[in-house]
């Protein structure tokens, strides 16, 4: 399964508005289009994961992720915060690019970990942060995945 096929244009937001860590997580969760009660549980679970150690992996990129009962399939979203914001990233640099990954506790297809690994690998490509900043339409994000994502 290619990363491109796991994202939809609706789950891509190029101008995140939130300016705190909690609010960013909530804004990303909204992109998944779940119901309100699921949003609340998911927020708690993602936040618990962040408390164990930030998912900001450096170079302006964060990958909040968790398994949760509230989804029945692998769900992904991408959000961009122009100018970036503090996310306690491991290099202390502001984060502009957020990849959200949520998977059910049990998956038949076992995609969660390979996808998490592929996104981390994609994000570590030195060209990627610059290319992500040039994007002006959600479709261009999907095109970039098609071009650059590991297979």
């Amino acid at each position: 399964m290619e990363l491109r096929e796991l994202f939809t244009a609706e789950a891509v937001k190029l101008e995140l508005e939130a300016d705190s860590k909690d609010a960013i997580l909530k804004e990303l969760i909204e992109l998944l289009g779940l119901d309100e009660k699921s949003d609340t549980i998911l927020f708690k679970t993602l936040k618990r994961r962040e408390n164990l150690g930030s998912t900001g992996i450096g170079k302006g990129i964060a990958i909040p992720h968790c398994r949760s009962l509230v989804v029945n399939k692998l769900c992904l979203a991408y959000g961009r915060k122009p100018g970036g914001m503090d996310f306690n990233a491991i290099d202390d640099a502001p984060v502009q690019h957020f990849f959200l990954i949520v998977a059910p506790p049990l998956e038949v297809s076992n995609q969660y970990l390979p996808v998490l690994g592929k996104i981390a690998q994609f994000a570590k490509d030195p060209d990627i942060p610059g290319r992500l900043e040039e994007i002006s339409q959600p479709e261009e994000f999907l095109d970039l995945l098609r071009e650059k994502a590991p297979r």
């Binding site: 618990r48 992996i57 989804v71 506790p105």
Partner: protein, 125 residues
């Protein structure tokens, strides 16, 4: 009123607990999630697991006694105490749940169990 305030408060706790248990289990994996968390996110696995254990105990203690008793009765032999119901099927035992249980909107807020396996259920639309 927010959605979670309409939801049975014990169900909210149970869902949180179940998600924490998934996290805890994964961080214990030598080659799976544990390895990914260590390699890409620099997580100290032992410390993270012990933090989660504390949180799990805290949440378990805050369950109301009746629910906690049922939770403990289900837990010893089944790692998943709360399971989703998707398309009317319990994902704990894969048996169909009567439509009366899952049918109406009000049911989504109730604390319910699967009649077949006894697990708490969470209805996913």
């Amino acid at each position: 009123m927010t959605a979670t305030s309409r939801m049975h408060p014990q169900l909210v706790l149970l869902l949180e607990l179940q998600d924490l248990r998934s996290q805890h289990r994964e961080l214990g994996e030598e080659e799976g999630a544990g390895e990914v968390e260590r390699a890409h996110f620099h997580i100290d696995l032992e410390k993270a697991r012990s933090e989660l254990e504390d949180k799990i105990q805290e949440l378990e203690a805050s369950l109301n006694p009746v629910v906690r008793k049922r939770y403990q009765r289900v837990l010893p032999n089944r790692d998943r105490v709360v399971v989703p119901v998707i398309n009317g099927v319990c994902y704990g035992c894969f048996v169909s749940i009567p439509t009366a249980t899952v049918g109406d909107e009000g049911a989504h807020q109730e604390l319910q169990g699967c009649e077949n396996c006894g697990r708490f259920i969470y209805i996913l639309s």
